[in-house]
């Protein structure tokens, strides 16, 4: 069990290999093989994540840091004293992320096998999905900010590739998809600037990017109950020391579940520290006398007393620095001192300011990745991607990265009050605004996209009020029910396309169930709309229907209605997802949303925090919107009468699509029970016996220092449920008829004169895109045009054409005529003439007459003889 964590690198390796296979051999594989490779790679990660989970529970939640082989010393610049290791961190937070990312990811892979059937780039799609999963798992398991950033950028690239996956669709739709992909990439780039600035500041201040160093414990206080105090306490169970020290009656009972797990799994005595309000290590050390607390029976350190300042990760260092008094200093461990003062270039400032700046920059990064105001505009457009992508990336996984980063960095946000207030406002306003925009959308996926933005706003607001565990909890429940809703909407879209297809085939007397995509492609070719010259052969059959009916949009809810009879499984699971999203007791969304609201309430009432009031107000209003737009969607899609003939021919989806729906539906119901609040009374249906109370928070507290347990507030629960039910009631009143839309397919809210401006405002998405167009894009384009003129007129026409070209020509003339032609060629030619002249003289000797040669020979011989005889003759 101890070594189980060592398989962690495989969790990245498997999807990477899957992606590699599908990239390289994809075109040669058939659909089945591609889908199996992709899905098995994804499924393997889930089992490894389960292995990590059992490793943690079996080893007292000891965080593991894994150095994968071959990647040792990933980034090392000895001269600059820079070393950033490639380390994977297996702790409770990362494993929580791993579990739901891999689980939802696997289901979506399976679903995509059905949904993408017939696509010409089927294997490429699975390669992208696997690549995305690999990067997401790097993001989540990285033990330093740089690894997180690698994953962060990697998922950004995959998101770009997948949003624009249908870049070659005909009739300008491909361009729209590509533009959506670019928009996502660019909006995220703005956020990445924030992340990079946060990274630089962190590195400058702490000299490291590691979250935690090996053997460092994120939350020593939470490990105190593991310390072996006294044998006489054997078997004794005491109430767990919650960090908050809130004394709730039922707490002890519930808390012991976790403690028992530990006791059973290690077969060791569990004793309890009575200390509250103290950051663990010291209290433990005092009571047990230094050594003993270190040489614990668990085989690992349960506090950080053995580490010097320099040996701590950034959060450990930040905690120490932030607790220092004015003018106090701390030994770094190498004899030098460190104080609160941070020097950045010529700017000297306090650690508080630096941490606030880091948090602020991180907020910008999170606003990009987690789609918050002001950078959320990319997410609704990202719905251009295939539906599994919308579900995988833009609901369940990638968009949670920003929230994950903020929760991981909870130390920074905990101490930065002003920034936390900003975080709350951003999150709350985003939740409300996005909820409002969801009201007026017609596209089934766009409603869900705005809903996602809105729910991410809930999470961000939760971070702002310090409810870090609640944020993760909501992220987790949201991953399940939003993935469910997206996959359900995909099922609906798929069905509508089939229905429309069917209709069309009958209309032309082709008969049968139309899968004749060749005919469609041909028909499409003859239209000749492919303005970009792409080879339109073999387009996905599903997406070519537009060639025959320009007005039919399978995603438009105005064409739907009454689908509950045609697709019962999709309908039931969709309603479960919608109810969970709306926060209906006892589904998962209720518990997570309620925990955030209750935390906001307590922050407002007990701590008197402004952010609590803001969050409570904005989020309650957003909760109302949530329930209302989901009611509207369910009734428009599934109830009433079908508003298009295609509805009559909609089939239920294939098992690859419905099975994930069912699984996600079951999880959407029950996943909320993993984190029941304290003192839930009868509301928990007695299920705390199975799941325990706030199990998830307890679990998270091992790695999230400032997480705290949420308590049940009857008042908030009742108000929130009342708000939700009121919205549903209102929604049914408005949209409940046989056909809620009038004959012009207009929304009842639009028909009503009082609400018309609101509906128009919502339908126009609050004119965000237009505002950005005016504020940024058009000035940008104007500047670009101006610079283009400067470039063309000045640089091209004047500098290039006049100065450079003419100068060049002049110099070239000099070089070519007098120099090259005269001097160099003259020399060469002169040598040639010289040789020719000499040879002309010399060749005269070559007469060709034998006699002449013989005379020459004779003369030569005579000369030689005379020369030889000369000494003799001379005496």
């Amino acid at each position: 069990m101890q070594n189980l964590a060592l398989i962690a690198p495989l969790i990245i390796l498997f999807p990477s290999v899957g992606a590699f296979i599908n990239f390289v051999w994809g075109p040669k594989l058939n659909e089945r093989a591609s889908a199996i490779i992709g899905s098995v790679a994804a499924g393997a990660t889930f089992f490894i994540a389960l292995g990590m989970f059992s490793y943690l529970t079996g080893n007292n939640f000891q965080p593991a840091i894994i150095d994968p082989p071959l990647l040792d010393g990933w980034l090392r610049i000895p001269s600059a004293n820079l070393e950033i290791p490639w380390q994977q961190r297996i702790d409770t937070l990362s494993v929580t992320m791993l579990l739901f990312v891999t689980f939802v990811g696997t289901l979506i892979h399976i679903y995509a096998a059905g949904y993408m059937h017939g696509d010409k780039r089927f294997s490429r799609f699975f390669a992208y999905l696997n690549m995305f999963l690999a990067f997401m798992l790097i993001l989540v398991t990285g033990n330093n900010f740089l690894m997180m950033f690698v994953g962060w950028e990697g998922v950004g690239v995959c998101s770009y590739l997948l949003i624009g996956f249908w870049w070659d669709k005909p009739k300008g739709e491909g361009i729209k998809n590509a533009n959506a992909a670019r928009k996502a990439f660019i909006a995220n780039r703005v956020g990445d600037f924030g992340v990079l600035m946060a990274l630089f500041l962190t590195f400058w201040t702490f000299g490291s990017l590691d979250f935690f160093k090996p053997t460092e414990i994120a939350n020593p206080a939470h490990y105190e109950h593991l310390v072996h105090e006294d044998d006489s306490h054997a078997g004794e169970e005491d109430s767990h020391s919650g960090e908050e020290g809130d004394d709730h009656g039922g707490e002890g009972e519930g808390e012991s579940t976790t403690a028992q797990t530990v006791a059973l799994s290690t077969d060791t005595t569990v004793a309890q520290e009575g200390e509250e309000d103290d950051h663990g290590g010291e209290a433990a050390a005092d009571d047990h006398g230094g050594e003993e607390s270190h040489s614990d029976p668990f085989g690992f350190y349960v506090n950080n007393d053995h580490l010097t300042y320099n040996q701590l990760g950034v959060f450990g260092q930040a905690e120490k620095l932030l607790k220092l008094g004015e003018g106090e200093t701390l030994d770094r461990g190498d004899g030098t001192q460190v104080g609160r003062t941070v020097v950045i270039g010529s700017w000297t400032t306090d650690i508080d300011t630096v941490v606030s700046l880091i948090a602020l920059f991180m907020l910008l990064g999170a606003a990009g990745k987690s789609a918050q105001i002001p950078l959320f505009v990319w997410l609704p457009d990202a719905m251009a991607g295939p539906t599994p992508v919308s579900a995988l990336i833009h609901a369940a996984t990638m968009v949670t990265a920003g929230v994950y980063m903020m929760v991981r960095s909870n130390t920074f946000f905990y101490y930065a009050d002003e920034v936390s207030l900003i975080v709350t406002i951003i999150g709350g306003v985003t939740a409300l605004a996005a909820g409002f925009m969801a009201l007026g959308q017609w596209d089934i996926k766009r409603v869900l996209a705005y809903s996602t933005v809105s729910q991410l706003g809930f999470m961000v607001a939760a971070v702002g009020i310090g409810a870090y565990a609640a944020a993760i909890f909501h992220m987790m429940t949201h991953a399940f029910f939003k993935a469910l809703l997206f996959l359900g909407s995909g099922s609906v879209i798929h069905g509508m396309e089939h229905g429309h297809h069917h209709l069309h085939d009958h209309g032309h007397g082709a008969g049968g169930h139309g899968h004749d995509d060749k005919a469609h492609a041909a028909a499409h070719d003859s239209h000749g709309h492919d303005s970009h010259g792409h080879d339109s052969h073999g387009h996905d059959e599903k997406h070519d229907d537009h060639a025959h009916d320009d007005h039919f949009d399978p995603q438009d809810m105005r064409t739907m209605g009454g689908l509950s009879r045609r697709m019962p499984i999709t309908y039931i699971t969709y309603v479960i997802g919608a109810a969970a999203l709306a926060g209906i007791w006892p589904l998962s969304g209720f518990w997570s949303k309620d925990e955030i609201l209750a935390d906001a309430w307590r922050a407002a009432i007990f701590d008197g925090k402004l952010s609590g009031y803001i969050a409570l107000g904005l989020l309650l209003a957003a909760a109302f919107m949530t329930a209302f737009y989901m009611t509207r969607q369910v009734w428009l899609v599934f109830h009433g009468e079908g508003r298009h003939d295609a509805v009559k021919h909609v089939p239920e989806s294939v098992w690859q699509m419905t099975v994930p729906l069912i699984i996600l539906g079951v999880f959407s119901v029950f996943i909320g029970f993993v984190n029941l609040p304290s003192d839930p009374g009868v509301s928990s249906l007695g299920l705390e016996a199975v799941f325990g109370l706030h199990a998830l928070t307890d679990w998270l507290e091992y790695s999230v220092l400032h997480a705290h347990v949420g308590a049940f507030e009857w008042l908030i629960a009742l108000v929130a449920t009342g708000v939700g039910l009121a919205a549903i009631f209102l929604g049914i009143r408005i949209y409940g008829g046989a056909n809620p839309l009038n004959e012009k397919n207009e929304d009842p809210l639009y028909v009503n004169r009082g609400f018309r401006p609101l509906f128009v405002f919502s339908n126009a998405r609050m004119y965000w895109d237009e505002a950005y167009d005016r504020l940024f894009i058009r000035p940008f384009q104007a500047i670009a045009r101006l610079l283009a003129r400067v470039d063309w007129d000045f640089w091209h026409d004047y500098v290039h054409d006049s100065v450079i070209t003419k100068g060049f020509n002049g110099v070239a003339k000099i070089l070519s005529q007098p120099v090259d032609n005269g001097l160099i060629d003259g020399t060469v030619r002169g040598v040639g003439r010289l040789v020719k002249g000499i040879s002309g003289v010399l060749r005269q000797a070559q007469t060709g007459y034998v006699r002449v040669y013989a005379v020459a020979l004779l003369v030569g011989v005579v000369a030689v003889v005379v020369l030889m005889l000369l000494p003799v003759l001379q005496g």
């Binding site: 007469t847 060709g848 007459y849 006699r851 013989a854």
Partner: protein
């Protein structure tokens, strides 16, 4: 016994005749014969000196010269026949294709 000087003088006369024949005659056959005359003049000198010094080196060398001369005659005559076939003449003044 005939003195060696007589042989050498005869040899010189023959060699001079051969040289003049080579230089002055136009008929290739005659030129060829003149060359043979020069070779035999040198043979005579070799044999004469051989007798004078009581050594066999000169006589041995003579045989080599005669062998080479025989081979030369074979090759040379063949060339002359070939030249005659192409040019219908063996006048060496008409053969100056190697002129520079």
């Amino acid at each position: 016994m005939v003195p060696t000087e007589a042989y050498v003088i005869l040899s010189m006369v023959l060699f001079a005749m051969g040289t003049l024949g080579v230089l002055l005659r136009r008929n290739a056959i005659i030129v060829f014969m003149s060359v043979e005359l020069m070779l035999n003049a040198s043979n005579l000198a070799l044999v004469a000196f051989s007798r004078q010094w009581q050594g066999v080196d000169g006589q041995l060398f003579t045989f080599f010269v005669m062998t080479v001369a025989a081979a030369e005659v074979a090759v040379g005559l063949a060339l002359i026949v070939a030249i005659f076939r192409t040019k219908q003449s063996i006048n060496i003044d008409e053969l100056h294709l190697m002129e520079g």
